[in-house]
Point group: C3
Chain length 405, copies 3
């Protein structure tokens, strides 16, 4: 049992599926999404925190036909969007919400989005989730690469999941797993599938994403992955801090360079701030495990995001501390790559390849830090991983965007 699972109480979740679990197919080729619910009482499971999982479909506007799955652990309701790449819309525990308030209010059906619109920024017409999968053919800002317009952050977030299966262990701690497959395919171009899994346990105030990318093709392919994990109020606020074991930090561009001195602290909602982005190279522990922590000014509430630097070697810290209505939000984004267009990342060595039939695993854990003790423990863990190693603060962006385009 690793630290990640400890923290969010996922005793038996991470690792192999136990022999005894009930599976519920929620969506499949011959099974349309239909309103459905199951709870611990129906399952004959007695827990301190009764839990339930429900499925419903939204109608009207740009969310026509979008399905949502609510996993209520008894302590947190995690809302997953099968129609949008198994993204996590939000996770709410009492008065604390992981997620943010985007100007995009609908959970937009990908059928209505032209990702090639707005010069490749069409993705912004649907962006409002807590966890937005970016990839896996490419991530990053739109722009030409190899003669094609790469649209913002790839297709994954706008691919509806095939075959969605809910699995609930029959034994304590009654792990709850939700799996859905994304097919990212185009003749001659790409043949990826992504087996996504979100797991949690009754009573938990966190969850683990565990995705497996497979290159089904006969050729090695470039790929990129970035987990665009987004937090607004109440976790984000004036004086909130970002803490992580960091080897190198550098500004994404000239604007971020100007605010480099304050890269670890957040402003309150700030008119005309727009955004700054910092490119981090994290330290991991001996096994590559690492984490990033966001906590409020008082240090009594926060969130930790756990991942492994062998899977996701770099990290984008997106500080979009503009006004509330503009979308006051920060992104804690582990990835294979930063958010530059792919053509800029190749020279940085941040466009890995995946061989034929090879797989890559990406695991990201999310745990609410509900009080000062939890925040302190997470910060302590950051210090352990940092282990006194230096942090290089690099003034120059890794890519000179003023010269290139």
């Amino acid at each position: 049992m690793n630290k990640l699972s400890c923290l969010i109480g996922l005793a038996a979740v991470v690792g192999a599926t136990p022999a005894l679990a009930r599976d519920y197919v929620l969506l499949d080729t011959d099974k349309p999404a239909q309103n459905w619910k199951i709870d611990s009482q129906q399952l004959g499971i007695k827990t301190d925190k009764p839990f339930s999982v429900s499925l419903r479909t939204l109608h009207g506007g740009l969310q026509e036909g979008v399905s949502l799955i609510d996993i209520d652990t008894g302590a947190m309701t995690i809302t997953v969007v099968p129609t949008r790449g198994m993204n996590v819309l939000r996770a709410v525990a009492g008065d604390v919400r992981m997620g943010w308030d985007s100007p995009v209010k609908d959970v937009v059906n990908p059928a209505f989005i032209e990702q090639n619109g707005r010069g490749g920024l069409g993705w912004l017409e649907g962006f409002n989730e807590l966890v937005t999968r970016c990839g896996y053919e490419w991530v990053g800002h739109p722009g030409m690469d190899n003669g094609e317009l790469l649209t913002l952050h790839g297709r994954a977030a706008n691919i509806p999941a095939s075959k969605v299966v809910l699995s609930i262990d029959e034994q304590p701690p009654y792990a709850i797993r939700l799996r859905g497959e994304l097919k990212e395919q185009a003749f001659k171009k790409v043949d990826f599938s992504v087996a996504t899994e979100l797991s949690t346990t009754p009573g938990a105030t966190g969850f683990v994403i565990d995705d497996t990318l497979t290159n089904n093709g006969d050729y090695p392919k470039e790929y990129q992955a970035l987990y665009h994990n987004n937090f607004g109020t109440p976790l984000l606020g004036q004086g909130a801090r970002f803490v992580a074991p960091v080897k190198q930090v550098s500004p994404f561009n000239a604007k971020a360079r100007g605010d480099l001195a304050n890269w670890q602290t957040y402003r309150g909602p700030t008119k005309d701030y727009d955004e700054t982005v910092y490119n981090l190279v994290p330290y991991g522990d001996a096994r590559g495990d690492t984490l990033a922590v966001l906590h409020n000014q008082a240090g009594d509430r926060g969130v930790r995001v756990d991942y492994n630097v062998q899977q996701l070697p770099v990290f984008s810290l997106w500080k979009n501390t503009d006004t509330e209505k503009q979308g006051y939000v920060t992104g804690l984004e582990p990835g294979t790559s930063f958010s530059y267009n792919r053509r800029f990342q190749r020279p940085l060595g941040l466009v890995p390849t995946i061989g034929p039939k090879e797989q890559r695993q990406f695991r990201v854990g999310f745990a609410l830090l509900a009080d000062k003790a939890a925040v302190d423990q997470a910060v302590q863990r950051v210090n352990e991983v940092q282990a006194g190693r230096p942090t290089e603060v690099r003034e120059e962006p890794l890519v000179d965007l003023t010269k290139q385009q």
Copy 2:
């Protein structure tokens, strides 16, 4: 009670909603569009003209999943398309039809349209309505502006409405109102919502569109609105005339300049005519109220379009008098702007801004003129508004499209 409501018999419609009205939610987040109908008999309302409202969903082809709402006032059936921006497909009273015959026969689901296709003309693959909302981020011809391709006439017509509510007054004249909300949102780009309303009364042969645009964001934004109101036969025909109180008329481009002398009269279906467009600056009365009239050669049938120049200060007269199958149609189009690409309208002062939380209202009335007396009365009203003021006929287009691009 203003002249607009007088004309189409909407005694109590325009203005505040009366206290007593029955509301029917036809579409909402948890309520899919389903075949449904209600009529005056069911409502226990005895009127000279029994009325009904019905909802149905189309299948097959590019109209799969498109909902239509038919409001039969007893004298006119008004068909609204919630799936396409609450556009009005047509309004038919006996043998008179407001609307036109587009080559586009399906009522196309926006999911199938790539507005960025055809160099930004993809919108044309769905264009066939009587009232097509254009805007609200931009209107006009496709082209680059601020580094983005603006697609023809904006997104509104291809945004499905959220929460559609039918409201029927419990007291005479039993006003019928249909409301639907459009969300025009994209992170960092725009956060508009448009509360649309179409209202009419039992027995009426007209209706009023009353839209409220809200900028939900924290920043002032440019916006544009244009109501693309389109009429074919039988109202349009050889010798038909356009009459309106006009301060200035100018040709949209060189082609329209060639036909400037006849800008107020229509040809019959004319091979190879394509289109001419005239840019009008209308006069309004002391309150800004104005109108435009289209009537047939005999002057015994027509339509009037009422609006207010404070809301919609300019007007495009689109004369697409090509062959019938090509789409024989004229557009009477009040707007904040003409149909040039937005980059050409900024210098003309026709790209207004809307401040944070501000609203803009656009009201457009449509009334059938069923006989000579009605046509004469409308023309007389035009004369009253013109009030002897001069009309400048400007030979040069306001934008020199031969120089720019």
Copy 3:
């Protein structure tokens, strides 16, 4: 009864519809696609080979809402995709399959495809059928023409069919016909409709496509058609051969030129082969009837594709003998045109026009060749049509793609 119908046992199919047939509307404006099945027993038809036709709808992933129609002749199951241009997904007879294994596994709903994406190659995100209709406004590689980006192979494959009707004759041989209409329309641009028909008979191991393109508009329009008929294993394999009566063969481009000597034979799955394409001008018989044959190395299994050179005067032989997972497949593609972008085909005289109200018919037959005798008979027919006439092997591609772009 012509040779085409002979071969696949379609005695009464080709030609006028007999007076007595049962019609079943499977999809229409007021009739959504619903799971449905009918079989010969229900129809009271006693045949050696009981047959059935069934309709079902797929869910999940990019195939959400896609309908499939399976026509089981008793000897072959032909799967048609109304949602994708009435394309034929596959046709399976025992252990022989017409069709191929594309990396694209979902039957993709056009709503999710941006054909303008990937520089106009978005079509590749849905390409996996046995028969993919290309056209009818244009076919060929993406590229600019008349100031517009023409996307790969036109829109037809991504237009859902309107009104799908199954018709079963009441008299022997109980012909089975499936009709669906495609509307390819855009205001000012195009007003085409395509009445598609697929017909077969109980017990048949083949079928006939019979499409009628109508220009509903008032102006002559350019059009192009290409039937992208795709075969993988087991018909395609190392040493498989292509045989057809050919007047001229030329390589599509420099790469194909290098392999010109072997244009009639196939490699097994070959790493890094990608594709070669040969442009053929076929000979027809006195009536224009012609055929193309693909058979395996042993010459005991194959397929013949029958068509008429007056309808479809040229033929693309697409040899995509790359690895199996990359999509090991050959295309036998009769068309009005080759696969160059339309702007390159105009000078070749391969962009025909269709006058107002005119129609063009395209008939393509598919027949499984189940044994050596059938293969030999088909090859003999090729020789009859060739009739000793010479084949010009042209070394230079018809279009010099290295100079143009």
